[in-house]
Amino acid sequence: MPFKRFVEIGRVALVNYGKDYGRLVVIVDVVDQNRALVDAPDMVRCQINFKRLSLTDIKIDIKRVPKKTTLIKAMEEADVKNKWENSSWGKKLIVQKRRASLNDFDRFKVMLAKIKRGGAIRQELAKLKKEVAAA
């Protein structure tokens, strides 16, 4: 199977270790075999090891080391935020974050909702079983 996600200028990656954990960054230049220069609209440009990055499918069109305003404009044009939040990976992360930030009342509401959903599923299942038994 060939590789589909490459380290290249403009590749969007997710930081998966360290201080900036969970942040979406753009690779703006490659320092050497192990490190990339990385930038995001709300942080200072810094170098980060590839071991701390998970590459995504999203790529934006920029030249080497663009200015911050150019980077922000390119990210808007490529619509990185929406593409990320609509991707299954992005959606999973949003759900994880929401679940981690629930308070006790929210968890209670979730319990009630799960019971209600389970009840509705069982009702439908009972109906289908009756139809099969009747047939």
């Binding site: 996600r5 270790y17 320092v31 220069l37 200072v44």
Partner: protein, 178 residues
């Protein structure tokens, strides 16, 4: 960024004025040391080898730390060094790609230790310079001088995001692709 072990200092000193020489020449050096105290000591070490002056008959005029002007751009650094191996002294020229000079110097020290088993006290930095990409000599740095650089990350081991979540045993074998 990560705290650097080596800091760059500018050290200025001269011999003490004597009746024979009212205004001795002032000397300035740029060196790398882990702290200011060591930088001053290194300054006298080098100055002793060049001029007839010691710490006891000299005075330190200034010591300032030099910081990187543009720590967000990548540069090619060339470092000329003189090191002592088990059999004698040798000169070397090494190239590194890094965002800061302190980072490149730290890379140099770790590389010399690993490749040649030369430790910090046995290395003297003669000169450092930012090298224009056309003048780089090592293929290892030149291969990154590509505007359309593109390569896949071949061996991907996913780590737990904090050391606290590390476990000795895993339920299934990891997926190393992507």
């Amino acid at each position: 960024m990560v705290a650097f072990r080596f800091h760059q200092y500018q050290v200025v000193g001269r011999a003490l004025p004597t009746p024979g020489d009212e205004h001795p020449k002032i000397y300035r050096m740029k060196l790398w040391a882990t702290n200011e105290v060591r930088a001053k000591s290194k300054f006298w070490y080098f100055l002793r080898k060049l001029k007839k002056v010691k710490k006891s008959n000299g005075q330190m005029l200034a010591i300032n730390e030099i910081f990187e002007r543009n720590p967000t751009t990548i540069k090619n650094y060339g470092i000329w060094l003189r090191y002592q191996s088990r059999t004698g002294y040798h000169n070397m020229y090494k190239e590194y790609r890094d965002t800061t000079l302190n980072g490149a110097v730290e890379q140099m020290y770790t590389e010399m230790a690993s490749r040649h088993r030369v430790r910090f006290p046995c290395i003297q930095i003669i000169k450092t310079a930012t090298v224009h990409f056309k003048l780089c000599k090592r293929d290892n740095t030149k291969q990154f001088h590509n505007g359309n650089i593109k390569f896949p990350l071949v061996y991907r081991k996913i780590r737990p995001p904090t050391r606290k979540l590390k476990t000795t045993f895993k339920a299934s074998r990891p997926n190393l692709f992507m």
